[in-house]
Symmetry: C2
Subunit: 681 residues, 2 copies
């Protein structure tokens, strides 16, 4: 099906400009001009990638792990993914005496494979358009809050119905903000056994200092096998290991389950994200990071207690900085505004899109309303990530409120099945509580809350709140868990009192958020209709954790004037970085194996301009023949804002080169059992 109805020259220019942008759904691959795909380097017919009649194809050899992607690489269910995606499985079998995390693991026969308890994968089976069913479930004339609840309820019931088939794992995914809803039917394999893990020093080589960075030298891969009914799972589709590796300019495709992107937002909505998410995070978390560092200086106890919180704050803070830099570098908001304006101008003369234009105006009104309350909303939102004591108080108050309802009336996350988890978290909190740090963070929150006129914060001091509370006493806290709102009130505990006073505001904020989401679910599809019609060719929808494929080429980029990041690194670079100290400590046996000049040229990591985001960790990277050439594991710093817009100058992802994997298995670890199955022995 040809959808490009434009002249040849313009087509070529447009194709060049857009070549690598887009996380395509399997169905969309068949809408893309096959000549163009061939020119890019695809040597297989598109129908081999996806057969719409059967609802499957080579793309389905990419399977979902929670938060990650994995790939079948043999007919007997051998799975390749990132080391960090199988870390839980490795950890399960790691003991002080048999430290698999540090030493790695090699199964030398099927019997040696290590079964796990928690790892599961989902293999895609069927995609069904359920848009009509969802729309039919929305009562006529309801308000936006009711609309959201109706959509959510219908989604839940469709999922429940689908999961009645044993082994099924289903979800309803919204595309283009609800323009289309798809029931994604997959089946879950729960018997996943560890086959190979490199030493952590290889799998996590470079650690935090190299995270998000190029040049990169990380062997971030591991292998497992899926079993069904006690036998290796027989898969119809898998990616054989490529006999020849890639070089600069080579075509690659990348399959996987990208989590979430924001490219269908209007410019105003993006600008809101910039200000109300990233700039706020930079400001608030930047201050809190400083407070944690100051208050724990010289205290081993304090340093340990706040370490997880500090890491999380740092992650968010660093990410926010990257998003802000990338939005600025790519002028993404400005480009989106120009794109919005072009659609508006085009639609203005077309009666069919009057609704789209009205929807756009309403989206902008919502964005404006959000701006008015954004700073205050942000402070409500970070109660869950700031002071431990305030978070606990808020959680206890909300729990007490929900407990008073019937279970099916309770908010998600506060139903009876969630209680064990909530109680465990309250018990565990003691580990991460350090009074001087918590007091400083709470002070900061109170000061900011007062400035934003959050009434319950006015006149309270963190010191007084801590003096008048028993919430920091673990046994008292667990007692509180079982108490009603009246009992909590009767305690006259200063921290609980603050939470009780905040709860009506928080409830109103949650309702407002849900109402806005309901409105967006109504408006966004209308507006996207115009955007897609204006494009006149397939437009990839935002990522939503469903199976996607992206096409691109092995390619470096220039991070700044006078510097070029070349697209491939080698073992030589890993050895250069090796200091003997974590995270740059390569085990001696690998250093020894890497002595010869020829070995040092083994390719280790490469970049391509395929279009990825979180969830693509472990995504297979294959050549034009569908053979595995690499395994995606990261994207460089300059590309963090990719979620808002594809900037071809810096849109790159980073993969482990399969030649490093083969070298490690073959020359270093003599993993014959695995190599035979991969057809390499």
């Amino acid at each position: 099906m040809r959808r490009f109805r434009i002249g040849v020259l313009f087509f070529v220019l447009a194709a060049l400009a857009l070549a690598e942008e887009g996380k395509w759904t399997p169905q969309q691959v068949l809408q893309i001009d096959p000549t163009w795909l061939k020119q890019q380097g695809l040597q297989l017919p598109a129908l081999k990638l996806w057969d719409p009649k059967r609802g499957t194809g080579l793309l389905a050899a990419a399977v979902a792990l929670p938060g990650c992607t994995a790939a079948f690489v043999s007919a007997n269910g051998l799975i390749l993914t990132n080391h960090h995606c199988l870390f839980g499985l490795i950890q399960e079998h790691s003991t002080t005496d048999n430290d698999l995390i540090t030493n790695g693991f090699i199964a030398r026969s099927r019997e040696q494979e290590l079964a796990g308890k928690t790892t599961r994968i989902t293999v895609p089976r069927k995609f069904t358009d359920v848009t009509k069913a969802i729309e039919a479930a929305i009562p006529a004339g309801v308000n936006d809050l009711a609309r959201l609840k109706a959509i959510e309820a219908k989604q839940k019931s469709l999922v429940a119905e689908c999961e009645r088939t044993p082994g099924n794992r289903c979800s309803v995914a919204a595309f283009d903000g609800g323009l289309q809803y798809t029931l994604v039917e997959g089946f879950e394999l729960t018997d996943i056994r560890l086959v190979y893990a490199p030493p952590r020093a290889v799998g996590e080589f470079g650690g935090e200092p190299d995270n998000f960075r190029w040049p990169r030298h990380t062997g971030d891969f591991a292998m497992a096998r899926a079993y069904k009914d006690g036998k290796p799972y027989q898969c119809e589709f898998f990616y054989p290991i490529a006999k020849t590796g890639v070089k600069a300019g080579d075509f690659v495709m990348l399959m996987g389950y990208p989590g979430r992107t924001f490219r269908s937002m209007t410019a105003d909505e993006m600008a809101n994200e910039r200000r109300l998410r990233f700039e706020m995070a930079k400001d608030v978390f930047g201050e809190w990071i400083g407070l944690l560092e100051q208050t724990t200086k010289g205290s081993a106890e304090g340093t340990i207690a706040v370490s997880v919180m500090l890491k999380n704050l740092n992650n968010t803070h660093t990410n926010a900085q990257g998003q802000l830099d990338g939005l600025e570098r790519g002028k993404l908001v400005e480009k989106q505004r120009a794109a919005d304006d072009a659609v508006v101008a085009w639609a203005a003369g077309r009666a069919a899109f009057a609704g789209a234009l009205a929807a756009k105006q309403d989206l902008e009104k919502l964005a404006e309303a959000r701006r008015a309350t954004g700073a205050r909303d942000y402070l409500y939102g970070v109660i869950g990530t700031g002071s431990v004591a305030l978070r606990e108080a808020a959680s206890l108050v909300r729990m007490a409120g929900e407990r008073a309802k019937a279970d099916e009336e309770r908010e998600a996350g506060y139903q009876e099945r969630d209680w064990i988890r909530i109680r465990a978290a309250l018990a565990r909190d003691t580990q991460s509580f350090y009074r001087p740090s918590d007091e400083a963070i709470l002070s900061s929150w109170l000061r900011r809350a007062q400035a934003e006129k959050i009434t319950p914060a006015v006149g309270r001091s963190a010191l007084d709140l801590f003096r008048g509370t028993k919430i920091t006493d673990p046994s008292e806290r667990l007692k509180m868990f079982n108490e009603s709102l009246d009992q909590l009130r009767a305690r006259n505990d200063s921290m609980l009192n603050l939470a009780l006073a905040l709860e009506p505001e928080l409830r109103a904020w949650r309702v407002a958020t849900d109402t806005r989401d309901g409105a967006i679910a109504r408006l966004r599809p209308e507006w996207r209709k115009a955007v897609i019609a204006h494009a006149g060719k397939p437009v990839a929808p935002d990522a939503n954790s469903t199976l996607r494929v992206t096409f691109g080429h092995v390619k470096g980029y220039s991070p700044r004037d006078g510097v070029m990041y070349t697209p491939q690194t080698t073992l030589a670079g890993m050895i250069e970085k090796s200091t003997g100290e974590e995270p740059f400590a390569i085990p001696r046996f690998i250093l020894d194996a890497a002595r010869t000049a020829k070995t040092r040229e083994i390719p280790l990591n490469f970049m391509a301009d395929t279009d990825t985001t979180g969830g693509n960790s472990g995504s297979p990277v294959v050549n034009g023949r569908g053979e595995l050439v690499g395994l995606n594991f990261d994207r460089p710093w300059e590309n963090v804002a990719n979620d808002f817009g594809y900037n071809p100058d810096v849109a790159r992802n980073i993969s482990v080169d399969v030649r490093f994997l083969v070298w490690l298995l073959e020359d270093v670890q003599k993993a014959d059992f695995i190599l035979k199955e991969l057809g390499l022995k």
Copy 2:
């Protein structure tokens, strides 16, 4: 004259391998295969570069400034060099009201040019081989110390004779350690007037953080005019501004006065430099930097007092680290050893080179002897850069010893003409003395001296030395300056006593050093004869501040795996780096002028693999037609060890692109007067 007597294929390979190595003397240019030079990109006949009959040529348009190089760029004596090379001249005319350093300067007519007091240039006139005269001056059978003194005396007398011609500025340069001595006759122009200086923010853009770094965006250039007898100096040779700039791969030549390199050392001598100069500097200065930082923490007085010393120590320490890294990266000592061994193997069967082999063995014995005393010698050497109080005491004791002699017997630097300078330094020292820092440095020196069995250091503590001295009292110190050794002894001052006890050891060390230098002057030429004969083609001698030319191409390099430094930067990069704060603050009028996309593409700096060292600052970089395309001002960090060996992977120098200069003069500063003279208006 064709000197390559080898087959074509081998010639091509050898030429490729050696293309860019070598700072050639003007005479050597005529010995290089003209076909090869043409292949490289030279479009002029070699005789145009240098006419041996006249002893001049286009190369002579490069003139010497103290520590720098400059280039004539018009027939009327207009000179182009680095901003930092003309800084003294700019400073002379800079006042609070008329701050030329900050604002820059543009002469809009000859009358506006600003005459200076101290800037002088030397134009090369004639090169005479005086090897025979020097050798004849060495009495037969003298020891090595007397040999050194005889050579030095003859050099002095040749220079004095040459400088009898008014305006002459002469020197005797040793090539290949004394294989050839050349009397270099130049004439000095002392009326140098400032014509153009950019604002310091352009001329020093990037400052310390960017020093030695790529990517670079520094407009390090300024212009002056040489006058003779009150009229613009008429020069026969100059480099016209190129109409088209360079791009990657283009041929360039670079002329100048490189100061000193160490490539004719044997591998053992290089290994000694590595250990006894750079590793020692890393160790000792690394400790002292830490001590200065600790002892001045929180003290404004201390911080100011030690700032110059700290800067000097940091420079040496950073340079040492660069040398060590570069020696390791290029495996320079190992390569030198292989080269030495090849010459030894070749010479072994040739009776004519028996003397060369013996000389090599003797050089190695000297190197071995130096190793035995190296750490101790280093501590003697750093008395002049460490504790201010000890340095003063040593200087006063030496001064008293020398004063007792007749003036012509006194060591260089301690003759009557030097006394004012020494006395001024002693008076000035108060500014850079901060007791806690000085005591810490002295403690470190004493501890190290004791470990090296420097007897006078044994049993002394820095605290006691400071308690028992009056040397830190400025007026007492100036009194001491006039006293004899007996008077100094009679003071029984603890610091002077240490210096008095050290002086015999220091004297013995100076004699040993001179003796070794005399031996090297005897041995090195013998050994170099074999090296040059073995090469069978011209071999560029080590730099010695005489006029040289180097051939190369515009070229980037890879500083590490996965990264390529591309060879050109643009104005866009300067703007990207601009923070508004020194040293990244570009004046507003330049930012304004750089608004258009086309302007931002103006080339700013470029790299080439021409072979440079200190002294090449301000060297003209010209294309194959002899037209100026750039102005050398730095080399990147990875190339610091270039003085020991040319590593083609990283041997790069950094130049200002002449297109930036033209843009600044033409589009921004409308400097029509200068542009007309440059033929650009």
